[in-house]
Amino acid sequence: MRPGIDLRYCKGCNICVYMCPKQCFSNGADLSVQGYFPAIVTAPEKCFNYGRTEKLICELCVLSCPDQAITWEPEPEEEEEKDADQTG
């Protein structure tokens, strides 16, 4: 699983950027509809839970996000790998 930020809820406090031990997040520069600058997930592959589907560890970002904006999403790369296998 990889962390994903819900742009409807994020208020741009950047606590996830501070909390993440693997620097998955970085400060965002694009204005959201709500009028904030939400953080962006720049390096999801660094996350401890990348490749895991159950028994997630760490979860500092999910627990410490004050606006409940961070959720776990499945990795999209799995489909690309399948495509690469088919072509190869």
Binding site: R8, Y9, I15, Y18, Y36, L60, L63, S64, D67, Q68
Partner: protein
């Protein structure tokens, strides 16, 4: 269940300022609540007045929003009249320590089966940043522009002295420890008190050169001292924010008899 199943999603996003610690406490509480297997149908959330007391409004459950400082008094009455319900009190430092201080002490003394989560943000955040009873010494607020000359209340030590069954203090930087402590407090009977030192970037941090929420979290991380390590180093006592330090950890864990489980008859009834 996902964490979001506990929340009233129609009200989202909530009104808390960007970077406020109340949402973090909500996450940790409901993680523990979910692990315990408690049901929202059987739980009542009681709160007073303040930023932290708005939390029950965002939960898909029954809640009582009481007058300022009277959350513990109302929760005591609720628990004694409906002992089958689980009662959780969300309260703030001004609500619990200042105006409701006597209710808090007597709630600890009576040892009614309540779970009290106190979110201590060191300031009266909702009314504009006045100094509260837990504002650290020499920190600036709107009513103390040259630094607070008073020393702060140590709510956790107060609860220990007053006789609460379980007392712990963590900060919003220690999310996993906080989740474990809240789970422990839900497991235990009696008056369980968890104090969470939380960040208020809008009214506390902005005036104390820590406008960024991460600066406040960094301050918590730097100044936190584990209570077991304090004991191991044979330091007698480390006060909350008195020497720039926050004592964290479990303060007490004991099994005193609950108020509504006490047997009838006094100790001297047979003798007289």
């Amino acid at each position: 269940m996902e964490l979001f199943d506990f929340y009233d999603q129609d009200r989202w996003p909530h009104v808390f300022c960007p970077g406020c610690g109340n949402g973090t406490v909500m996450n940790c509480f409901f993680r523990a609540f979910n692990e315990m297997g408690w049901k929202l149908d059987n739980t009542v959330f009681v709160s007073g007045i303040g930023c932290s007391s708005r939390i029950p409004l965002y939960i898909n459950s029954d809640a009582i929003h009481t007058t300022h400082g009277r959350a513990i008094a109302v929760a005591t009455g609720l628990k004694l009249s409906r002992p089958e319900l689980d009662v959780v009190v969300f309260t703030g430092d001004g609500d619990l320590g200042a105006i409701g201080g006597n209710h808090f002490i007597n709630g600890c003394r009576r040892n009614v089966d309540l779970d009290v989560i106190c979110i201590n943000n060191n300031i009266y955040g909702m009314t504009g940043g006045q100094a509260s009873v837990t504002t650290p010494h020499d920190y600036i607020s709107t009513t103390t522009p040259f630094g607070s000359k008073e020393y702060p209340f140590d709510l956790a030590e107060l609860a220990v002295a007053a006789g609460a069954n379980y007392v712990a203090r963590w900060t919003t930087r220690h999310v996993h420890e906080l989740t474990k402590s809240i789970k422990r407090s839900l497991e235990k009977k009696g008056f369980n008190f968890v104090e969470v030192v939380s960040q208020c970037p809008t009214n506390f941090g902005r005036r104390n050169k820590m406008a960024d929420p991460s600066a406040l979290l960094d301050w918590f991380k730097e100044s936190s001292v584990r209570r077991d390590k304090v004991r191991a180093a044979a330091i007698d006592h480390v006060d909350l924010n008195l020497a720039g330090q926050i004592t964290t950890g479990e303060f007490v864990c004991r099994d005193r008899e609950c108020y509504h489980e006490k047997k009838g008859g006094g100790a001297h009834r047979d003798g007289h």
